[in-house]
């Protein structure tokens, strides 16, 4: 009956994935399962057998931040930092589905599953737009 989020936090000691609610509403626990965003509080660890799970700890390339992580820092898209891992994992998923040129309206709607109490979302929206553009930048394209 172990949830994925429990398995990550308690068994693997990967505590970057957070728990902020008990009704799958806050999105602090978002991770990627085979490249798609999932809420780790609503999936059993057993269901993930054979799947590739990426958490916030696995996003950066060594010491080099992922463009979305860098964008959150550059645009002050975080304050207390607690919702941030889920926000960033969701943001990367939004870009995967919506592309690199996303407007404010789309970003706000796509964030329906993530709560932040600190930022009023203003700078999160800016960060995601900038992060999305950076992910489509020359460096990222060259790597593809």
């Amino acid at each position: 009956r172990t949830l994925l989020v429990q398995f990550l936090r308690e068994n693997l000691r990967l505590t970057g994935t957070h728990v902020g609610c008990d009704t799958s509403q806050c999105g602090a626990c978002v991770v990627h399962m085979d490249g798609r965003a999932v809420k780790a509080c609503t999936i059993l660890a057993l269901q993930c057998e054979g799947a590739q799970i990426t958490t916030i700890e696995g996003l950066a390339n060594g010491a080099e931040l992922h463009p979305m992580q860098a964008a959150f820092r550059e645009h002050h898209g975080l304050q207390c930092g607690f919702c941030t891992p889920g926000m960033i994992m969701t943001a990367v998923d939004i870009v995967a589905r919506q592309g690199h040129d996303i407007d404010e309206h789309t970003i706000r709607h796509e964030l329906e599953g993530n709560l932040c109490r600190c930022t009023g979302y203003h700078n999160i929206v800016k960060a995601i737009a900038a992060g999305a553009a950076a992910m489509g930048g020359p460096v990222a394209q060259a790597a593809e």
């Binding site: 957070h18 609610c21 008990d22 950066a60 975080l78 207390c80 109490r117 979302y121």
Partner: protein, 787 residues
Amino acid sequence: MTATGIGAAVRRKEDQRFVTGTGRYVDDLTRPGQAYAYFLRSPHAHANIRSIDAAPAKARPGVLAVLTGDDLAADKVGGLICGWMIHSKDGTPMKAGPHPALAQGKVRYVGDHVAMVVAETLAQAKDAAEAIVVDYEVLPAVVDAGEAQASGVPIHEVAPDNTVFRWHLGDKAAVDQAFAGAKHVTKLDLTNNRLVPNPIEPRAAIGEYDSGTDSFTLDTPSQNPHVARLVLSAFIGIAPEHKLRVIAPDVGGGFGSKIFIYAEETVCVWAAKKVGRPVKWTCDRTEAFLCDAHGRDHVTHAEMAVGEDGKILAIRVSTIANLGAYLSTFASSVPTYLYAPLLSGQYDIPAIYCEVDGVYTNTAPVDAYRGAGRPEATFVVERLVEVTARQIGMDPAKFRKRNYIKKFPHQTPVIMTYDAGDYHASLAKALELADYAGFGRRKRESARQGKLRGIGFSSYIEACGIAPSQAVGSLGAGVGLWESAEVRVNPTGSIEVLTGSHTHGQGHETTFAQLVSDRLGVPIDSVTVVHGDTDKVQFGMGTYGSRSGAVGMSAIYKAIDKVIAKGKKVAAYVMEASEGDIEFKDGKFTVAGTDKSAAFGDVALQAYIAHKFSGQELEPGLKEGAFYDPTNFTFPAGVHICEVEVDPDTGIVAITKWTAVDDFGVLINPMIVEGQVHGGVAQGVGQALHEGAVYDKSGQLVTASYMDYQMPRAVDLPSLTVGMTTTPCPSNPLGVKGCGEAGAIAAPAAVINAITDALGHEDIAMPATPQAVWRAAQRARMPMAAE
């Protein structure tokens, strides 16, 4: 201004760990051998406990202990306290009932703490809690502030009519006289809705006991770990102060709710010794809704008297404040001294009188939540001002201008001395940024599409940077409200700043380092800010009431002064000059009138190797501390303008534009300041449109999850236009004012003023949900049908 000094939008030092998932919040910590705690909570709002049979639970697998109020009493563990004494009009002290950390004979709200189970795993603790047999005698309950006093439901023996205090402030006779001579009187009945703070990180605690040294450690997300230690030691009696270490590591938001000393943290640290194991507890979200201290919950009747010339003559306010089932740590100060002294707003008002009854109900305790009293006061003032302007047929901006305070310092009739401000400047800038001149055109465009457009102002002021210790002491505070700092310069010139402030999202690790970098001329990367650990920082009053800039940074400023003074003494020996000739600028000590200089880092090294002076002449080392007691509150003020478009067919309110112009004095880091405004506005919009804690008549909290309590989401908010004006604060060395709460203070009135403008002055209560707005829109369309 340097690239990392005061005024620069420096990117935050703390972000590296937060964006990589390497922050450390309490629930991320694991102690060797830790056991797990779970609390059995009352399912009833009000009941006597006839008996508790813990034996079946104790027999369950994995259970280490089942602890109740009797165990606390047997160990002489004291109850939780309220640290601010309020006296009623008749001079009697407030009626504070007992507040045991685990219930003793009675429960007073749903979620009240009945017993604690400690087990090897959380699942075992939860299972065992279900086996505890509690025999309740259920009592009638009362939940509404307005009904508490006449309910005949006594919650505490000391307050048979549930009245904690009947307090007042101001000159009643002068106010009554002003009303008697008024040309126009505005009357409003207002409810300030109950809110749940909801930092996304829930509360948590790990209690540890070391039998070898007979000392305790408590890890907990606290906004003020030193105050927590003081209360746990001096009042609750867990351990002597020097035998208790409280650590507040990374904390995921507070908004006031993590100021207070709660039952769970108290019991965890006590239980660690009882079971001989570290005891960990993490709050789930439902428990947070039930038991975190709530905010607001006022019922108010307010009146404004206006003269012939549109000048405000007086304000008269009567409020009942719901304090919940117990008095939380600072509960009594919020609806009194943090509320009524703000009723003058930005206006020159000759006479103000305010009465406040604080009442017990069978609901969660109510205490400070972002703004704490000041949003409630601003809502009263700015609703009165807006409605009055409409009733006397004057443009609301013009009515405000006519009544603004123009000269400083300004003594209000309700305690405060405003030290500086320029209210016309912020209004003018806000009107321009909001394109007020173009509003009529936009309203007509909306009307063509069947939409109702409205615009609302909130010309708020707040008092923060709380506050001169003597002053708060004379008003009943149990503590002083200074702040401490220590600046430790290492021999290599790098610096640790120890502060009694606590950061839980505000970015102190960056802004405090900016101050040091600016004044000592050292790179920002060689400055580390240390906070949140009572073993590292000697003492501190913590972070709340927007005090960390004005008070916390002023303490650092003062300590830096001492570092520079000591550095000059060292530099004088190093450069063989007279101390009086040494100057310090841009990170260099120089000898006036010569080209001799010594870099700050070199002087630091000389201070530690102490080869250039004898110990009799000068103490080695470079480390200075300071305690800074503020000389006044700071008075941030500004104008927020909310523009809405209401769909009368659905009741949906869209905020089309938000303009905030704030005067926070000197800005240390404008990026962070703007972020504070964004977050505050979001919480204020949440209060106005979405959020409301609802208890049913039996005292069950109907809104106890994110499914039922609507938190503002990204789609609910617009992009925000933030502008600044600046009048430096004259009462602290940096000229800064608090910025953390302003948005939450300003926003609710702006939203409601905008909606009522759209609806043709039909009043509407918060939260203005689509259903409520739709009903109001129907009444506004057909005024006869409402009668």
